[in-house]
Amino acid sequence: MEAQDTCQPTVSIDPLSPRNANYMMHLKMDEVAHKVYGRSTITWKNASPDTIRKVPFYMYLNAFKNSKTSYLKPGASRMPRGDIDHRPQEEWGYIEVLSAYQQGIGLPLIQRYIRPDDGNLNDNTVLEFDLINPVPPGGNLKIGMTYEAKLPKTISRVGYAAFGFHHWVHSYPKIGVYEQDDSGQWGWNCHQFLPHMEFYGDHGNYTGSIDVAAEYVVGASGCLGEVRTEGDRKIYEFSAEDVIDFAWVASPYLEVFEDSWEHVDIRLLYPASHSGLVGRLIGAVKNAMRYLDKHVGAYPYTTLTILDPPVYGLRSGFMEYPTYITGGSFYGWPKSIRTIESLIIHEFTHQYFMQMLASNEKEAPWLDEGFVTFYEDCIMEASYNRPTLINILGYEISNVEMTRNEYVSLPNPRISPIVARSWEVPGAYKGIVYSKTATMLQTLKAHLGAAAFDQMMKTYFENNKFSHPRRSDFEKVVRGALSRSDSHIAGSIESFLSQTLDGTQVCDYAVTDIVNTIAPASTGWYGEGVDRTYKSLSAEGMVKSVVKVERKGDFILPVVIRFIWKDGSTEELVWDGVETVYSFEFERESELLSAEIDPEFLLRLDVDRNNNSYTLQPDRLGMWKYALRTIYWVQNVLQASNLLM
């Protein structure tokens, strides 16, 4: 079965979102020229108090129009220049509006490209129309347009590849978002396509048809309804509701596997060579659905399409679109490396953080990529045995460890705050936006406890789904959750938020020394009145222990320190963590053996876990184990190296 006869994209008959931007699109693909000829009717609702006279549209396919666009110009893109500068003519893409009319008006709309971000005249990624009839507050705008979209050879997930593979992303004129900024000012939010740009759009309905050569298999956002055959063409009806974008794939050589989870029809498109991976991919996405349904909120859509791209279309992989995600795998991928599962889980999680919670992925990418990475790690942890990600020849890595390390091993972890805009995180986008955010959330979860954290995120989801949540919406639920908790950082909410979100501080607490000495003798009268007692020079057996702790970084948060004495007794104290050097002193009958800052590893942002503890009884076994292992492997290297000598 390629498509359903009836197509109900969500479980709800009522709108789930405000449906501010709706698109009726009829798309006809020219498989040879890699083009689509489109007819769109866009209906937009003016939810602002302003009268709208100009309307900007994203024309992101033009990011791949020449080598000097704001996305591809030297210095902006990290892609190899050879892949950009030496592209032949047919490998460039573009999108052009051929005609545009406002409903009821016979004159064409005046259009011009604008460059609100950098003024780059070679960049045509935002197109502005002057409206003939302004749209009053609460009014509707209806624009009909025709356009031609030409795919580039695949670049940044969009494009055509060998064997008729076509991935249609950013391939239609899409209206910007008219909203209030943080200062309350209304205006259009419609950025040019800059590095690391992804999605920002209003929720709405996308309906229409896709006309392709009959041998093509089609996958798309939403659900596919009726399929008509007209000569050597097939026309697919599609419908996606309450989504922020629409993407589709067409390729003649894709197999289809269909499954379901609860109310969701899962449709996996994959190359024949990946038939052995189908179970892993479907299993992974079901794990994600199960977890997010329980810990965040319900998935209201009735479909999910997964593209596991063929090798020649692999550049289209690793991405998320509404109710349509792309993975990335390779024939024979070992089961002990769960990157393909992890990836599918990551992309599915974007259905929550990007799609339903449609934060501005350009200006606040941490609100989706960071959150998605966090949940990817949680889902892997809940669904698979440790090590969740890699288990090869004793080299074991779990997702949550990998994510933390991507942040703490950055050459400069202070390079940018989490809340930076997507094009303003130089060289450390993944480490900061994805990994530091996820590690911050792990820290928060560990301090709050899993149940309270889940409740916090459910509240965040319910309060903000089908809208454009911002930092303040997240901060609001964090403040609420932390203030209700009995965590030792409950009194440091603002400090935690400002340091983790705005700050670039590095967290590194350390225990640097433990010294046990015989306690100074106590002799003479102590106390007053009836409590006055005489102590003779008999302090033998009392030990004075001094523990030196340091704050090596500039991140400040209260931490728990656990002390363990030789007689087995323990004590936990909370240190405010403010001083750069601080000493704890004890006088007991037993020697202090060890001290450990943050023994439960709540503070995942600490960049050096090893110096968090100090013990006078070091475990030399671990050192011997690795020293002996080194000896063994050096022997093996020596033996292998001299085979031909």
Binding site: M623, W624, K625, N642
Partner: protein, 287 residues
């Protein structure tokens, strides 16, 4: 199995040689292993994270160690390079001694013959070894250079990644058989060096090459048997380690013994391979 078993048996009786080779290896390996111990002790010696290393592989502990103390560890990589170079030179000498003993008398093994052979053949063995390693480098570039440099192009233009995968597997088999060829060649060349005094380098290379061509297919099953035996030993250790885990001082001790036993077995295995090819060489030459 007969000739392989015989060769391994002959090799296993040369315990003094085995001990000598083992000592060279362990001294070089210890120089690095003890450094690792020293680095660990100086950097995280008092940390309670070390417990995680005893229990298994702890990615966080290891990565934080590298992130913070990487500068102390990276010189050890350079040191390993020097260890390998030193060992290659030592091997040229040791192999000279081994082949001299095999040439003079199968059963009589004296230190004198070993040292004499080492000194006598060091230069030529070293030269042959360097030539063969150069050929290995060329062979590797020939086999893998195209595959690696064309990999992304194949990904974009080939219909199926299964074909790319199986091509890689096929090339691996071809590459390994090339190494087998070079191993036969270097071994027969050494046999010529010890059995034909004064033979020129060109002639011994030519003789070794011709003999390798003639014996390549005939010996292939037996050499595979050698390889499989070795892989079996590794697999057994790997399985045991996977099941039991190295989590206590007793187990560390047990696995150290097992690991060193494997190193010992590999030395016997290499000597056995030499002996096997020497026996084969003699059989062909009617000695």
């Amino acid at each position: 199995m007969g000739p392989v078993y015989l060769a391994l048996l002959q090799a296993s009786k040369r315990w003094r040689l085995i001990l000598l080779i083992y000592l060279f290896q362990i001294v070089l390996a210890l120089s690095l292993g003890l450094q690792i111990y020293g680095v660990l002790e100086a950097s995280i010696g008092h940390s309670m994270s070390l417990r995680g290393l005893v229990g298994g592989f702890d990615y966080t502990t290891i990565q934080d160690l590298f992130n913070v103390h990487g500068a102390s560890i990276s010189p050890l990589v350079g040191m390993l390079r020097w260890c390998v170079i030193s060992y290659l030179l030592v091997t040229a000498f040791i192999n000279g001694g081994i082949w001299n003993i095999m040439w003079l008398d199968d059963n009589e093994e004296t230190w004198m013959r070993f040292w004499q052979g080492g000194a006598k053949y060091f230069g030529r063995f070293l030269l042959i070894g360097l030539i063969m390693n150069l050929l290995l480098l060329i062979w590797t570039i020939v086999v893998w250079g195209w595959y690696v440099s064309s990999f992304f192009n194949m990904m974009e233009t080939w219909f199926s990644d299964a074909r790319i995968f199986w091509l890689g597997c096929g090339l691996l088999v071809v590459w390994l058989h090339g190494i087998y060829f070079l191993f036969l060649w270097t071994s027969y060349a050494k046999a010529y060096i010890v059995s034909t005094p004064g033979i020129s380098v060109l002639k011994l290379l030519k003789g070794g090459f011709q003999l390798t061509i003639g014996r390549y297919i005939v010996l292939l099953p037996k050499v595979w048997l050698f390889v499989l035996l070795l892989l079996l030993v590794y697999a057994i250790l790997f399985l045991i380690e996977g099941k039991v885990g190295i989590t206590s001082s007793g187990l560390i001790l047990v696995f150290v013994v097992l690991q060193q036993l494997i190193v010992w077995v590999k030395i016997i295995h290499r000597l056995g391979a030499f002996q096997f090819l020497w026996n084969d060489f003699n059989q062909i030459r009617g000695r």
